[in-house]
C-alpha cells in the first residue's frame, strides 16, 4: 500500500485527496454525529444503482445530474403526539450551498405508511404557510404500495432569483385501524429528508482560480 496515515504528507498530492481534505473531519465547521439509519441506507442504495465498486458511474444508469445532496431536517416544538395524531414541524436549512451548484429538482422523501402493532400509521406532508405562499397538503409524485414516497418541492425552493434559506414543512400522521384496548407504545415515524438534485458546473477539483483574470499586456 503506497500510503500509510502515519506517512501522509502535510498536503496530499492527489487532487481528489486535496479537495476531500477540505471537507475532512476536524476542518472548521465540522459537526459531530454523521448521518446514520434510513437516510444513509437510501443514499447507499442510490449510489449502488449509479456507480460500480470502483466508483465509476454505470453507463446508462445516470442520475441525470452530478450532485445530489440529502439534507436532514431539524425539528422543533413540543410533544408531536396528540391522541391519534402526530404533528411534527420540520425545517430544512438551505444556507451555504456552493454557488457552482445549481438546483435542478428538489424532492422530500418520506414513508406514507408504517405498520403498527395494531393497524397502520398513515403520514403526509404539509407545506407551512410562509409569506405569500399559502400552506397546502403535498401529494406524492408517485404512490408506491410500500416504501418511500417523494413529493416535489422544487417550485417552493426555486423562487426566481432570490435564494430560499429554508423550507418549512409539517409531518402529519394519523394512527389508522382498530383502536386497541391497551396503550400503543409511542412510535416515532422516520423523519422525511430533502433531496436536492444539483448541477455542479465546477465538477472538477481545482478550487476556482484565486487570481483575478489577467489580461495579456
Amino acid at each position: 500500500s503506497p500510503l500509510h496515515p502515519g506517512s501522509l504528507p502535510a498536503v496530499p498530492t492527489l487532487p481528489l485527496l486535496q479537495a476531500l481534505q477540505t471537507r475532512a473531519p476536524g476542518s472548521p465547521g465540522w459537526r459531530v454525529g454523521p448521518s446514520s439509519g434510513q437516510p444513509l441506507r437510501y443514499m447507499l442504495n442510490l449510489y449502488r444503482r449509479a456507480a460500480d465498486r470502483e466508483g465509476r458511474p454505470r453507463r446508462g444508469r445516470s442520475l441525470g445530474t452530478n450532485t445530489i445532496r440529502l439534507v436532514q431536517a431539524s425539528s422543533h416544538g413540543g410533544q408531536p403526539w396528540a391522541g391519534r395524531w402526530y404533528m411534527q414541524p420540520l425545517t430544512y436549512l438551505l444556507e451555504g450551498q456552493p454557488e457552482a451548484e445549481h438546483l435542478l429538482r428538489a424532492t422530500v422523501v418520506y414513508l406514507p405508511s408504517l405498520p403498527l402493532a395494531r393497524g397502520r400509521l398513515l403520514c403526509a406532508l404539509e407545506l407551512v404557510a410562509a409569506g405569500k405562499t399559502p400552506g397546502l397538503l403535498l401529494s406524492p409524485t408517485a404512490r408506491p404500495r410500500r416504501g418511500w414516497a417523494e413529493v416535489d418541492v422544487t417550485p417552493y425552493l426555486a423562487l426566481g432569483n432570490s435564494s430560499v434559506r429554508s423550507l418549512a414543512l409539517q409531518h402529519v400522521c394519523v394512527r389508522a385501524g382498530r383502536a386497541g384496548g391497551g396503550h400503543d407504545a409511542p412510535v416515532l415515524p422516520s423523519r422525511p429528508f430533502l433531496l436536492l438534485y444539483l448541477n455542479d458546473t465546477q465538477a472538477g477539483l481545482a478550487p476556482p482560480a484565486a487570481e483575478p483574470h489577467r489580461h495579456r499586456r
Partner: protein, 124 residues
C-alpha cells in the same frame, strides 16, 4: 532515414525487454481506510486513479492516438537533435468517479468528479 527506422522496430522492441517498458497504464490503488477517512467517505472504499508510465516508442503505433506533433517531435529527437526530448507518456482518456460522503452539517452528498480515473495513455 525513416525507412531504416521501420526496419529496426522488431530489434527495438526486443532491446527494450518487451511490452512493459512501453508507455502504458499502471495501477495506483488508494484505500480511504488507510487514510483514516472511511468514516466519512462512505463509498467507494477504494480509489484507483492509475497513471501512465514508460517510454514512448520511436514509431508511435496507431493505438497511442498520438497527435501528429508527437510524431514530428519523435523524429526530431531521433534524427535532428537529441536535446529535444521524446514525447511524454501521459493519460489520454479519463473517466469520472462518484463519491458518497457525509457533510459537516450531517447531510449526505453524492457527487461525480470529472476526469478522475485514467483509462488510457498517449504519447505527446
Amino acid at each position: 532515414d525513416t525507412g531504416t527506422l521501420a526496419h529496426d522496430l522488431p530489434n527495438y522492441l526486443r532491446e527494450q525487454g518487451g511490452e512493459k517498458s512501453d508507455c502504458s497504464l499502471r495501477p495506483f490503488p488508494v484505500s480511504f481506510a488507510q487514510l483514516g477517512w472511511d468514516h466519512w467517505i462512505i463509498a467507494p472504499h477504494r480509489y484507483n486513479p492509475r497513471y501512465c508510465k514508460g517510454a514512448c516508442p520511436h514509431l508511435l503505433r496507431y493505438d497511442y492516438h498520438a497527435p501528429n506533433h508527437a510524431v514530428v517531435q519523435s523524429f526530431v529527437h531521433q534524427l535532428v537533435d537529441a536535446n529535444v526530448p521524446r514525447p511524454s507518456c501521459v493519460p489520454y482518456r479519463y473517466s469520472p468517479i462518484s463519491v458518497l460522503m457525509i457533510e459537516r452539517n450531517g447531510g449526505i452528498l453524492y457527487k461525480e468528479y470529472e476526469n478522475m480515473i485514467a483509462e488510457s495513455c498517449t504519447c505527446r
